[in-house]
């Protein structure tokens, strides 16, 4: 029951605020919502300390229980979601100050937390799918929060529809698993798969289908197009949903299903490749963006790619580790961006920023720590987790040297664009015309906490022979994979190498974006990158447009069908007209026809 409460508290907050929020005065809805999420956080902590818990309604649907399970994995993820969620709720009290939809915003946020916790706690795939689609809806509502602008509304719909493509994969994956094993309970499936001899092909297909769901939710190539547009929502939304929590649900799904993927080499390989491609694409696109939030958004895509690289090679705990560190520094980056936007009265173009270091000292600190952590500056959280991923490509079963090299290259790019973001916003001279002012404490305090996390969270899991708290903690909930441990010297050598790469990237970025003009090739690249390599346009021309046309064609076809049926029916009227002509009105004709009829009957009946 305690588990149910974790979900119910924010859900009640949503219902209450949705119905009566308008009558509450300003900070009340925000405070209420934050308190509820805080309580959820405490409940997760309590349950974790209590050694886990589970709860279920049997036969919720025929053969499918409605179940919640709090094991190390879901507890870990739940802590991230409610913890970071709580901080962002608090931050939003300041950020959303004065907005007409203040209470509505918190209602939606609470709804999001409820759904995200449903997703996390789910003990069976259908329940996870409830949360899965629920967070999609929350995302839709929050991206389109300022719905009076067409762009926002369209972005919201785009996010929802793109996610649905993935959701279809998730659905079909469930259907396949159900047809193979007759259950969708994750625990039962784990047992069944670990002991069964089902065709690897069928299992592989199931894994692939579930992965399609993850691709949609976590904005991997080729379904990444919705995430940059999702930045149309208020910044706390971007921080919470589109960076720290929801988008990592795909990673969580795969980690949850690790018992499935640990047996599927080919599928895992595909996941790793997709992850790497996404990481590269995100990093390259982040380089050319001019919108302060979009840079961070593409960096999110890129970092999610890393996580998929991790699960792809089989390093499930490392992916979850990165989920956490990423949650800290990415939320921090977004909220720092939010503070900047807040300070500049809504300005988001980095070309009109610069020099904010002296106007916003606190935010500058947050931004710097966040960017460094993202860039993988040695000893910060992002460094440890990203390095763990890159190293894992060599030590985990599905990895390979190619992955390593590419991962390292992307790490370099990451450092460059992280520095670009920092330099354009905080260094140099202020180029805008607003009067920057530091955010109120209700916004900076949560960021302080996040900054601490972005710096220190990495120390929870250090490479051998140092301590590692996360791996053994998560191990019971994840599949066991054979790790081929590297020699200590090699391992630390590689760590030093990636530290060097990060530092080099940072330095190069610093040089390039604070000093003189950029080379010509870069400017050409800049154009492509700023348009995210025109993927949106290609999709519009090749897919969206034709599909819309097809809808019109189908509607026309329906009309044609209608005509066809009408014509068929009309033919009976035609026939009727012909028959009626025989009814001439002349008795002689009638008599003749009657006799003719008689003759026919006689000939048929008598002479035959």
């Amino acid at each position: 029951m305690l588990l149910l409460l974790i979900v119910l508290l924010p859900l009640l907050g949503f219902v209450f605020l949705g119905l009566f929020g308008k009558r509450l005065r300003e900070p009340v809805p925000g405070v209420l919502a934050s308190v509820l999420v805080g309580l959820s956080f405490l409940l997760v902590v309590t349950s974790l300390l209590g050694g886990g818990a589970s709860w279920e309604i049997a036969d919720w649907l025929p053969g499918i229980p409605f179940s919640f399970v709090l094991d190390p994995l879901s507890g870990y993820m739940g802590l991230v979601v409610t913890g970071i969620g709580f901080l962002i709720h608090v931050y939003a009290i300041g950020y959303m100050h004065g907005d007409a939809g203040f209470s509505r915003f918190f209602a939606y946020l609470n709804f999001f937390i409820a759904m995200m916790m449903t997703l996390v706690l789910a003990g069976s795939y259908p329940v996870m799918f409830i949360g899965w689609e629920g967070v999609g809806l929350a995302s839709f509502l929050l991206i389109g929060f300022w719905y009076t602008e067409r762009k926002n509304a369209d972005s919201a719909r785009k996010a929802f529809i793109t996610n649905r493509i993935g959701d279809l994969g998730f659905l079909l994956g469930m259907a396949l698993l159900y047809s193979l094993f007759g259950t969708l309970s994750i625990g039962e499936l784990r047992e069944a798969i670990e002991t069964s001899a089902v065709l690897p092909l069928a299992l592989g297909t199931a894994g692939l289908l579930l992965f399609v769901g993850a691709v949609g939710k976590s904005a991997q190539v080729p379904l990444m197009v919705w995430l940059p547009d999702a930045m149309a929502g208020p910044t706390p939304v971007s921080a919470l949903i589109h960076a720290a929590t929801m988008v990592t649900a795909g990673v969580y799904l795969i980690a949850r299903s690790s018992f499935l993927y640990a047996n599927l080499q080919d599928v895992s390989y595909a996941i790793a490749v997709i992850g790497l491609v996404t990481a590269a694409y995100g990093a390259l696109s982040a380089l050319g963006q001019w919108d302060i939030k979009k840079i961070v958004a593409y960096s999110t895509i890129s970092q999610l790619g890393y996580m998929f690289l991790a699960v792809g090679v089989g390093a499930y705990w490392i992916a979850m580790f990165h989920v956490m560190t990423h949650a800290f520094y990415k939320a921090l980056l977004f909220m720092a961006s939010g503070s900047v936007i807040h300070a500049l009265g809504g300005e988001q173009d980095v070309r009109k920023m610069g020099g904010l270091k002296k106007h916003l000292p606190r935010t500058h600190l947050h931004g710097l720590l966040g960017a460094l952590s993202l860039a993988g500056f040695p000893l910060l959280a992002g460094f440890w987790s990203k390095d763990a991923i890159i190293t894992a490509t060599l030590s985990y079963p599905f990895g390979g040297t190619g992955f390593y090299v590419a991962g390292l290259a992307v790490a370099f790019l990451t450092a460059v664009y992280a520095m670009r973001w920092y330099a354009l916003v905080f260094l140099g001279e202020y180029k805008g015309d607003a009067h920057p002012h530091e955010a109120p404490p209700v916004m900076t305090l949560p960021n302080d906490v996040l900054a601490v996390g972005a710096v220190l969270a990495g120390f929870l899991a250090l490479p051998e022979p140092l301590w590692n708290l996360i791996e053994p903690f998560l191990a019971p909930a994840l599949a066991h994979v054979e790790v081929h441990h590297l020699a200590l010297a090699l391992e630390w050598g590689l760590i030093a190498l990636s530290a060097l790469v990060a530092l080099a990237g940072l330095y190069l970025g610093y040089l390039a974006f604070t000093r003189g003009p950029l080379p010509a090739w870069y400017r050409a690249f800049q154009t492509w990158s700023s348009e995210a390599f025109y993927v949106d346009r290609v999709y519009n021309v090749l897919i969206v447009g034709p599909l819309k046309e097809l809808a019109l064609v189908l509607a026309l076809f329906d009309g044609f069908l209608d005509t066809l049926f009408t014509a068929a029916a009309g033919s009976s009227a035609w026939l009727g007209e012909r028959l009626v002509r025989l009814q001439s009105g002349y008795v002689r004709a009638y008599g003749a026809l009657m006799v003719l009829g008689l003759v026919a009957v006689l000939v048929w009946g008598v002479l035959r």
């Binding site: 036969d59 649907l61 689609e133 279809l168 809808a551």
Partner: protein, 472 residues
């Protein structure tokens, strides 16, 4: 009690026709009492306390007035009584005669769900057509006659040929009467079985409807009274899946096995094609018509899968769709009252001036999209689990509609409620709050706690699958 549930609405309907001035009050009273009776009836059914009843109606011809609740009938009956009450509550500015006709339809619908005799079913099935036709003909729009003829002819081509099938089923199958129990003991196979099956199929494909026999549906909805009352009732009247479930598949197992691949294809194409076509619509009711059509395609997929999961899903989807599609038609009626048009974009940014209306609309639209936690999902999901076992390929094709649904439904929703505010309109008034709250509660309850309904459905579905020669 079952008889009262069936005929009480009819009595109130006739009274309402006789007393036009008090029609609304009478109608609401009648529907409310029926709703209560229906809820008690369902509770009694769950307790196993509802008895079957049978009396000869035309004994010499083997026709009985035999009624009883089984899982399928009872669940759908709930959808009928709830939606009818909702509809009468919501549609307050309709001509008085419509109220009477609505109640008469309710009677027919409850009767056809309860009937345990094939001819009795047929009688209720056809009798319901009369008030439906009258509502369309008397209170429809400018193109109503054409719509009416199309509706009637499609329905009758199916049902009259089904009558031939009914007779063939009994006499060739050798059943002593038309009672379901007797017929089920004498399924009809062979060539005759195929033809009779085709006749049944035709009737129920029209009423499901399935491509390409759906062409009556958009016009039927588009031309009906703008209040949405007739549309909600018309939605309930789409009992094709029920007819297939109870009266077709168990009686022609052999023929069904033969037709199954084609039927799956047809259902999948309906699901996808209709959802896609919905995207191109510019009129609320047409959009909803195609949307509902797509859902029926999904339901048919489940049913044709020949699995218990699919059968449960089909009926659950049918029941749920009665409520949310009906609700959406009424909702469209509310828009019509505000703007005098059913066009998809009478205004924009309406969420600003009417947030309550926006919330109601969103919840209903999301139920239609099949969002988990709302009533559209459990049925859709069970369908999915069922049909995958029969044909993964058609599952994929049919469930592409899941994506298309998001596109057309949210697109339509956003056109009105999002974007820059245009003409403002009043928010929900008291009556709209009442029916809206009831609708939302139903939709949420059906989504959150399907267990209450799927249990009985599963029993019925397993019986069905056993009769079809499958099952586990």
């Amino acid at each position: 009690m079952i008889h009262v549930t069936i005929f009480l609405p009819l009595v109130f309907g006739v009274l309402a026709l006789l007393r036009p001035t008090g029609a609304r009050a009478l109608g609401l009273l009648g529907a409310a009492v029926t709703l209560v009776l229906g809820l008690f009836g369902y509770a009694a059914f769950l307790d196993g306390a509802s008895a079957a009843y049978s009396a000869p109606l035309l004994a010499e011809a083997g026709v009985y007035y035999a009624v009883a609740w089984d899982g399928v009938g009872a669940v759908l009956m709930l959808a009928v009584v709830i939606t009818t009450f909702l509809a009468l509550l919501a549609a307050r500015d309709v001509p008085p005669a419509m109220v009477g006709l609505t109640l008469m339809m309710e009677s027919g619908l409850i009767g056809l769900l309860a009937a345990q005799d094939l001819v009795l079913f047929y009688v209720f099935f056809e009798a319901t057509l009369i008030p439906s036709l009258l509502m369309l003909g008397l209170f429809g729009g400018a193109g109503r006659i054409r719509a009416l003829v199309k509706f009637a002819i499609f329905t009758l081509v199916g049902s009259l040929l089904m009558l031939a099938g009914i007779l063939a089923l009994r006499y060739l199958g050798g059943a002593p009467s038309f009672l379901l129990a007797d017929l089920a003991d004498h399924p009809l196979g062979g060539v005759a079985g195929r033809w009779a099956f085709a006749a049944f199929l035709l009737a129920f494909m029209v009423k499901t409807p399935l491509f390409p026999l759906h062409v009556w549906l958009p016009d039927f909805h588009a031309e009906n009274h703008p209040s949405g009352l007739a549309d909600a009732m018309g939605t309930l009247y789409k009992v094709g899946l029920f007819g297939l479930f109870r009266w077709t598949l168990p009686l022609f197992p052999e023929a069904f096995a033969l037709f199954q691949p084609w039927l799956l294809a047809l259902a999948a194409l309906t699901a996808l094609g209709a959802a896609w076509t919905a995207y191109a619509q510019t009129d609320w009711k047409r959009l909803l018509a195609y949307g509902a059509l797509s859902h029926m395609g999904v339901g048919a997929l489940g049913l044709f899968s020949g699995t218990p999961e699919g059968a449960v899903g089909a009926i659950y989807l049918l029941a749920a769709s009665g409520v949310y599609t009906g609700g959406l038609f009424l909702f469209a009626g509310g828009l019509h009252r505000r703007f005098g048009t059913l066009d998809l974009r009478p205004t924009s940014g309406l969420a600003k001036s009417a947030p309550g209306l926006a919330a109601l609309g969103l919840i209903l639209v999301l139920a239609m999209v099949g969002l988990p936690g709302l009533s559209g999902f459990p049925g859709e999901f069970m369908n999915l689990l069922g049909v995958w076992q029969a044909s993964p390929v058609w599952t994929f094709v049919g469930f592409l509609a899941v994506i298309a649904a998001a596109a057309y439904a949210l697109g339509a929703y956003q056109q009105i409620f999002h974007n820059a505010p245009d003409k403002p309109a009043p928010d929900l008034d008291a009556v709209e709050w009442q029916w809206g709250a009831l609708a939302v509660l139903t939709v949420v309850f059906m989504g959150v706690y399907p267990k209450l309904f799927t249990g009985p459905l599963l029993t019925a579905a397993e019986t069905l699958v056993a009769a079809m020669g499958g099952g586990r």
